[in-house]
Symmetry: C2
């Protein structure tokens, strides 16, 4: 199975590396980080670069594509090289997926019109403006389109996909290998659960940049 991890300047690292860690353990997986131009791609914080081993046009027909999100999404929504590649890759893919604001790129390419989908919680309104039907679920499957909520949710998406592709037992084996038995020390991981003033602060653009 040919898997393409789509990245670009100022993507959010965990959006890609969460699913990578799970999907790379699929039987017969061949996974490649791809970007418009190959080479080191710097993430949103500036503190990390990952290597895109191939250019988009070197990998035109992946079986599974994962589009990451991050603050760099906004610039990419007008990058027609990327949007054209997404449309062409989607035409032959078995699974077209995204994490976080990566779904905005699928939507900008016209691939989520009328489909149930999700994104980072702060990007759901924008997703709707592109004609998708946002849901509050963490992982949303609509046919071959699988979208995940913010950043860390790509791990849950990838395990869900692994179960669909290789069976429950293989997915459980990967969960055991990666010791994915989450025990967060707080319960503030969604706007419903977090203290309301923090949610407001984010929406006002106060503490961190989100998109």
């Amino acid at each position: 199975m040919e898997i393409a991890m789509v990245v670009y300047d100022r993507f959010t690292a965990l959006d890609a590396v969460g699913p990578y860690e799970i999907l790379s353990r699929l039987p017969d997986a061949h996974l490649t980080f791809v970007a418009e131009r190959p080479g080191p791609i710097r993430t949103d914080t500036g503190f990390l670069a990952v290597t895109a081993d191939r250019a988009l046009d070197e990998l035109p027909s992946p079986d599974l594509l994962v589009v990451s999100g991050g603050p760099g999404t906004e610039a990419q929504m007008e990058n027609h090289v990327l949007l054209d590649w997404l449309r062409a890759a989607d035409a032959t893919s078995t699974w077209t997926t995204s994490v976080c604001s990566g779904s905005l790129l699928l939507a900008a390419a016209g691939l989520l019109h009328g489909r149930r989908a999700t994104s980072h919680w702060a990007a759901l309104e924008l997703l709707e403006q592109f004609g998708a039907e946002p849901t509050g679920e963490r992982v949303v499957t609509d046919g071959k389109y699988v979208t995940a909520a913010g950043v860390s949710s790509g791990i849950d998406m990838a395990l869900t996909l692994t179960g669909r592709i290789a069976g429950d037992e293989h997915a459980q084996a990967v969960q055991l290998l990666t010791e994915y038995d989450p025990q967060p020390p707080y319960d503030a991981g969604s706007p419903v659960k977090a203290p309301a003033h923090l949610v407001e602060e984010f929406r006002a653009g106060g503490r961190f940049s989100l998109t």
Copy 2:
């Protein structure tokens, strides 16, 4: 705060990128991926390279160091350049931490003798042979030494550390930003919870390489 993410050939990407995603959001964080030699470092699957921006000797005194694990650990346990650096960095660090089999490197450097610590579940026996006192907890704090269990547990460790360093509210804000509201589709993330035959298969070296 100067943060060093210690990586080497065949480390496990999520071991580093989970904590990176959280710790890079600490106030005044300056985070650097470091390796014996700077440049692209290929992870355990072969499908991803991250850039070590600095050599170990360029960052001798981080405030916080995070040592990743992975199949490459075994070779590093005899790398005296790395072990010497760990001892020297630990002498002035505020926090010395690890994820997964990264704790074996701290132990090999003599830093965990007589301390409570953890590692990937399949590496706990080896950790004990180095004089540490393994526990079954996901995140173990013994003074300034904070060790995490396998792969994905570094996210929980980093949120715990963020709370200690910057307060509960900042940690909750980072949890909300990264939408860390885990909902794994299976409950097989520890040897206690996973189907027993999968645990046995791993211990027999059947399905995946673990160390």
